[in-house]
């Protein structure tokens, strides 16, 4: 009897402490381990292989030997960064502590089309209506409301948007005797952040529920394994006593990226909105994070967004009116894109 009890107790104690034997990570991590995990994770979870016609197997052949032979971490990170560069995606990086690998040609190969210094010194500071309301720099330029939003990482609430609309429509608050003629929302050099902020702002201007896009999530390891389309809509949210139906111009450049790219795309479906500037930089997939066996972090796009007109916004959102900044006017302290937007609003 005692032997049986002892056996049962020993079995219980043994089972109660042995799970560490099954949950293990490799102690010695080779370059090969790091490379293989990165290549395989991206192979199975990255969302734009088919859209971009990328031969990822060829990338393996091209970089595997180099990665295996890398003599130090800096060299390895550089090779892995080059491999990820083949994806031509600004949402793809490795954070290795000493460096962040990057692909930034989506804006470096194009005109800047933005100079905040010029805007601040010539349009914002001289104006009696200039306020910084949360993350929104706003004022009135030539009887047109102007908002500059630097990053979608900074939260915007519906109540803040209500205040902005109140400001632009209530003469007792501003220097005008009447409400503004329209609104410019400047998202140039806005590299993105939270898509929720893009919805908050867009919803404030949506008169009726409008489908803006279909989102697809990666749900399997093959390049074309996606969920069914998830329709995304914009719908009015805010103070119903404060509608804003005047013309709106959204200013974009190549550095309008990620959540700002989503924002430009969604705004383009509103009937009173005109996009002016350059095609946005893209970034139409929500990036997700992961880690490598050696502890480095990396991120990559794992969704696809097709707008309601069937365009894949990974490749950017084209403006209604293309415009590059006039460098001569810029030297004089004038932003030709803002001035074109004012003309567009007033002529409508």
């Amino acid at each position: 009897m005692k032997t049986k009890l002892l056996f049962v107790l020993c079995l219980i104690l043994f089972l109660s402490s042995c799970e560490q034997a099954f949950i293990k990570e490799k102690e010695e991590i080779s370059n090969e381990d790091v490379f293989n995990h990165l290549w395989e994770t991206v192979d199975q979870k990255y969302s734009f292989f088919t859209d971009k016609d990328i031969d990822w197997d060829a990338a393996y052949d091209r970089y595997f030997r180099q990665a295996r032979q890398a003599e130090n971490s800096i060299e390895l990170a550089d090779i892995l960064g080059q491999m990820l560069g083949e994806l031509e995606d600004g949402h793809v990086n490795i954070s290795a502590g000493f460096d962040v690998t990057r692909y930034w040609n989506w804006y470096l190969d194009y005109p800047t089309n933005f100079n905040f210094d010029v805007i601040e010194r010539n349009y914002l500071e001289p104006s009696a209506d200039y306020q910084i309301s949360g993350p929104l720099y706003n004022t009135i330029i030539d009887s047109v409301g102007y908002i500059y939003y630097e990053s979608f990482s900074s939260s915007v609430s519906t109540s803040l948007m209500d205040y902005i609309i109140l400001k632009f429509t209530a003469p007792q608050i501003i220097s005008l005797e009447d409400e503004v003629a329209g609104l410019i929302i400047d998202v140039r050099n806005n590299g993105g952040g939270s898509v929720n902020n893009a919805f908050t702002i867009t919803n404030r201007f949506a008169a009726e529920k409008t489908k803006v896009a279909d989102w697809y999530y990666k749900n399997g390891p093959d390049h074309d394994d996606f969920t069914e389309a998830e329709a995304r809509y914009i719908e009015f949210e805010g103070d119903e006593d404060l509608p804003f139906n005047k013309p709106i111009v959204v200013l974009t450049n190549r550095s309008t990226y990620s959540a700002a790219n989503f924002f430009a795309s969604m705004m383009s479906f509103l009937p009173n909105v005109t996009l002016i500037g350059d095609t946005t930089g893209g970034g139409g997939g929500l990036p997700i994070n992961n880690e490598l066996p050696n502890g480095w972090r990396f991120r990559f796009s794992a969704t696809r967004t097709i707008d309601a007109n069937g365009n894949n916004i990974e490749f950017g959102v084209a403006p209604d009116i293309y415009h590059n900044l006039d460098s001569t006017l810029l030297i004089e302290g004038r932003d030709s894109m803002i001035e074109l937007a004012i003309d567009e609003i007033k002529n409508n």
């Binding site: 089972l15 109660s16 099954f22 990036p287």
Partner: protein, 267 residues
């Protein structure tokens, strides 16, 4: 297929909630426990790195026994901060689990003449794991749910120490029929949330897979050293442990240990 899954979920929940206390119990206790624990995690949906760390636990439950059966219903909550030295990453892990166990006294594996008891029974359990990676952005929050039916064993050995009556018991279960809901392959969205703007609690248990040994293995054990006062109330030291391995699209292995002090109030 979806209908079958929904029926399975409903059966598990009903078995857990309704069947408790359908018979007249001789000894019925309210159990409250607090303690600490240690968790381990290797979830390839989050990271290839092994995360582990300490935290706190609390539990509340009911237990009862009569001549025919022995039952326990317990809900346990754990919070652990899991870390890995390799990346410096940190995961806040919130785990809520519950079980209903029913043991048949007449299904004894030891003869009646023996002092110790080893009886067979069944368990229905659930586990809701919420893991929040502190350094991730769009895929920080992972929700991972399980429902299971398991054969279970109850072992009890009463003994005397310093002229006082103690008992050492162990409850072990091996989930056989499981229903698992994991986030999508490359997202933290749950399968049923796609295209569904108004999620309710039931949606967190939709769109999962029915799994069993082969792709899924879990073993769960509760070791209890109990002392009953003359008043009928008691105290116990409990050691809870589980290990889980699920060979899903994103494989996961997890383990958890909790050491808890419990009070038993006779009802």
């Amino acid at each position: 297929m979806i209908k079958r899954r929904i029926i399975f979920v409903i059966v598990c929940l009903l078995a857990t909630v309704i069947s408790y206390g359908q018979e007249q119990e001789k000894d019925k206790f309210l159990i409250t426990s607090v303690g600490g624990g240690y968790s381990s995690l290797l979830d390839e949906g989050i990271s290839p790195l092994f995360y582990s760390g300490a935290g706190g636990s609390a539990a509340i439950g009911l237990s009862s026994q009569n001549e025919k059966n022995r039952q326990q219903f317990l809900v346990k909550f754990n919070f652990n901060v899991l870390t890995t030295e390799r990346s410096g990453g940190e995961i806040y892990a919130y785990n809520t689990s519950g079980h209903y166990q029913y043991f048949f006294n007449n299904l004894s594996l030891l003869s009646d003449s023996q002092k110790a008891k080893l009886i067979f029974g069944l368990e229905a359990n659930f586990n809701i794991a919420i893991r929040n990676h502190q350094f991730f952005t769009n895929n920080a929050l992972h929700i991972d749910n399980r429902l299971a039916l398991a054969p279970a064993f109850y072992f009890e050995w009463p003994f005397k120490l310093f002229n006082q009556d103690f008992s050492l018991s162990s409850t072990m279960s091996l989930p056989l029929l499981n229903y698992a809901v994991r986030p999508l392959f490359a997202s933290t969205r749950l399968p049923s949330s796609i295209g569904n703007t108004e999620n309710n609690y039931a949606d967190y248990f939709k769109g999962g897979d029915i799994i069993s040994w082969g792709s899924y293995f879990k073993i769960k054990n509760q070791l209890r050293l109990q002392y009953l006062f003359k008043t009928g109330n008691g105290i116990s030291v409990d050691y809870h442990w589980f290990y889980e391995s699920y060979n899903a699209l994103n494989p996961i292995k997890a383990g958890q240990h909790s050491l808890m002090i419990s009070t038993l109030f006779q009802l």
